[in-house]
Symmetry: C2
Subunit: 477 residues, 2 copies
């Protein structure tokens, strides 16, 4: 089997593979230049040797590492690497690569080869891959499964990707209440491979209803003649397949779980949620959220096609265009005031920019607080009060600094006072909107991160211009 | 012992506790109003009953859940809740609360009580807490440890918080090569509590040098008379204590590890890294990064003090002030041009805003790509080319839309053409800077997320103004 590597050794492998790829490119170019009888045998041999080296390197890799290599190389090298992988491991590699790379590989591999590499995967893995396969291929591959596996695949693919049911696996170990511990140990001894990670055994009745859990350490340390029913513990943490995966992941973190049972509404054991699936989910979620805050679909890849990338950004670009246009109309209202004092046009972006920047700090804190469940109904007002106080304090300090700079530049005390008042007020607007926006998005049933910064910037820009130019109109003209 | 809860039941507990806190506040107010002989016995009793209910609820909670409650309530309720907790569990709760809450609780609890609740913790936990304790208290608490534990605490607190050594634990199970499997099972049977999670046994020689691993499933399924040395597997993944925790966490995700050994440079077993510590680290890292991108120190809390919060935001606020001021000087260069055509002042923020927005999308993708190790030397040019192409495409489309809107508004074809050209060019600047900024920050040895959006916005604002007003000066005046 494949052995995992320490991070340093993986990095070394990656560098060697990159070097072999570079060499491959150079040799390919040489070969193209010397097409025909002139092509030298030595170079052909070198080229062949280089490919063999590459294949050797790749075949020594754990499938997760081969997937890492596929994710890291530019698109034009992907198929070269994919082609050098051992057909027996290609299925496992498909499971590990990122979604866009998987789609690209599936699209570029002949159907016959795909059938072969998918045929080596088990029901769990096929369920995981199933929505990436085209319907015809899916049907062909599923034909190879037995009745039980097929119904598993069908039911687990019915659950949306962010639910427990989608992440759960079918593999677990069960025992009966009346068995002595020794009998469980005996039955394990005969088995070829136990499900991993195995930290507890599920004690079920004849109808597969979960009666309790037997932690593996109790099995190992307990008196072998003791009855399982006397040693089992109640199952306090369990999940329903339709539950959201996010709170389930929180429970794994909070209670340091390694696995937990998934039950239907009558308490029947449906499957198992394991820490490795939860950890992959947590990492993916945090990355998706970071992209969402910037207004990107969570699955955009650095190497996605030009067309897909451009379209992916249109919604937020269009929204930003509309909000920027609206904010600019605010300026339009004051064109006369600006005509009277051109310094206003120069200084107004500062007011808007500082509001946007500090508002985004508040938004970031709110999003984290909401994710951690730290913001109860009682604490909202306290948070708003505090953010307003911070804005007031910072507005006085930095509005003052700015007023001083403007005074040096324009020698107008009244302009400086208007500027510092506008900075102060816009910071307070930013604090209030920064607290309110994520709460509002959440109330609307949306991800509080999604688009919060576009909404915030719209308000701080528009209000920044309005406050500054409005004050200027009132006091300077 | 405490039992963990399903997420729904925890939510219910939280709501009940919030209701009891509200009632507590109302009753307290009543009591204050009727100070003196007028105060009615009934209300005193109600107040007492309410506190007893609260205590009962809190004492039924898992320490991690009690910590969750402490994190979620406003600061003024924290001490009330802390006071109702069972002294025996307060130490465990301290381990689980967030850093600012921990500091607040440590500061507000009498030293005598602290000594008691810390005295119940083991060496691992004390090492974890040690840098939150003041030196005098630390010394007192450590005095209770035996020689071995003390040296453990000393060595593990020497490693920085983002290294493997800081996260590792001391608890593991070892065996010798010449033991038959049955002997290991027998020795486990006598033990009171095994370290959790236990997925493998470390096979060591007489000097505690790691020789191999025995997965627990091999122990359970193997022939009891087989020698451990014949059944053990090589330890391919292991870490050094001074290694960074981030790549170690990646290895846990990639290879679905539950635990891994930590070795010194001679291969001696120092400790163990477990998946629960890794998962906490991953979650914390992703939150710290989200705050950093907004220009906040990673450990700022929603309930931090006013003064701490204000100061925490000063560095980036000051930097933003400087960059906004510099960008505004660009406008100052063109005041004459603006005087000739006031529409320029109205439209210029649109050019800047759209550049900032799309540039931040590129930055978000780059940060994810860097975190995933997807950006090798060979792929940088490909990414830049693609982002420039996306900017070109989007600039043509949305620059065109904007030009059309401006045409309706100002009836000037030349102004519209200048606007659309400026949008197109600024999107390309944003793409280039969005690719370059995270790479540059990384090259400088900094977190590519830290401050990337302030740097980006500075460039897209300044260049946006310069391009738009410069084109206007050249072609419209």
């Amino acid at each position: 089997m494949f052995t995992p590597r320490s991070p340093q050794r993986l990095q070394e492998s990656l560098e060697q593979i990159a070097a072999l790829l570079d060499r491959h490119r150079v040799l390919e170019e040489l070969a193209h230049k010397q097409e025909g009888p002139n092509r030298e045998l030595l170079e052909v041999l070198q080229h062949r040797q280089n490919l063999a080296d590459l294949r050797h390197r790749l075949r020594g890799l754990h499938p997760a590492d081969a997937a890492f290599v596929l994710d890291a190389v530019p698109p034009e090298d992907r198929l070269l690497i994919w082609g050098q992988l051992d057909p027996a491991t290609r299925g496992d590699v498909l499971l590990e690569v990122s979604r866009p790379v998987r789609d690209a590989l599936l699209g570029a591999t002949p159907r016959e080869e795909l059938r072969e590499c998918l045929g080596r995967l088990d029901a769990e893995d096929l369920a995981y891959l199933s929505d990436a396969l085209d319907p015809e291929l899916r049907l062909e591959v599923f034909r190879g499964l037995d009745e039980g596996d097929l119904s598993w695949v069908r039911s687990s693919t019915l659950y949306p990707a962010d639910t427990v049911g989608h992440l759960m696996v079918q593999e677990y170990v069960t025992a009966r209440e009346d068995q002595p511990l020794a009998a469980i140990l005996e039955s394990l001894r005969g088995q070829a491979g136990l499900p991993r990670p195995l930290d507890q055994i599920y004690v079920v009745d004849g109808r597969n209803v979960l009666r309790g859990l037997l932690p593996l350490e109790d099995l190992l340390t307990g008196d072998p003649t003791a009855k399982t029913g006397d040693r089992m513990r109640p199952h306090e943490v369990f999940f329903a397949p339709e539950e959201k995966a996010e709170p389930a992941a929180r429970a794994f973190e909070r209670y340091d779980l390694v696995s937990a049972p998934v039950l239907d509404e009558r308490g029947k054991l449906l499957g198992r949620l394991t820490v490795d699936a939860v950890m992959d989910f947590v990492r993916e979620q945090s990355q998706v959220q970071a992209l969402r805050r910037a207004g990107l679909a969570g699955d955009e890849d650095l190497y996605a096609s030009l067309w897909a990338s451009a379209r992916n950004r249109w919604f937020w670009l269009a929204l930003n265009l509309v909000t920027a246009f609206l904010a600019s109309r605010v300026i339009g209202l004051f064109e006369e005031t600006i005509a009277g004092l051109l310094a206003l046009a120069t200084l107004m972006p500062i007011v808007a920019s500082i509001g946007g920047n500090t508002g985004n700090q508040t938004v970031a804190l709110m999003i984290r607080g909401l994710a951690l469940g730290q913001i109860g109904a009682g604490s909202r007002r306290a948070i708003l009060r505090k953010e307003l106080a911070v804005a007031l304090l910072n507005g006085l300090v930095w509005g003052g600094v700015l007023a001083f700079l403007a005074l040096l530049l324009y020698r107008s005390l009244s302009l400086s006072l208007v500027l510092s008042a506008a900075v102060l007020l816009n910071l307070m607007v930013a604090a209030a909107v920064g607290v309110a926006t994520p709460l509002l998005l959440q109330r609307l049933g949306r991800d509080p991160a999604q688009g919060s910064s576009v909404l915030l910037t719209f308000t701080t820009d528009g209000m920044g211009f309005f406050i500054f130019l409005g004050l200027a109109k009132a006091f300077l003209t």
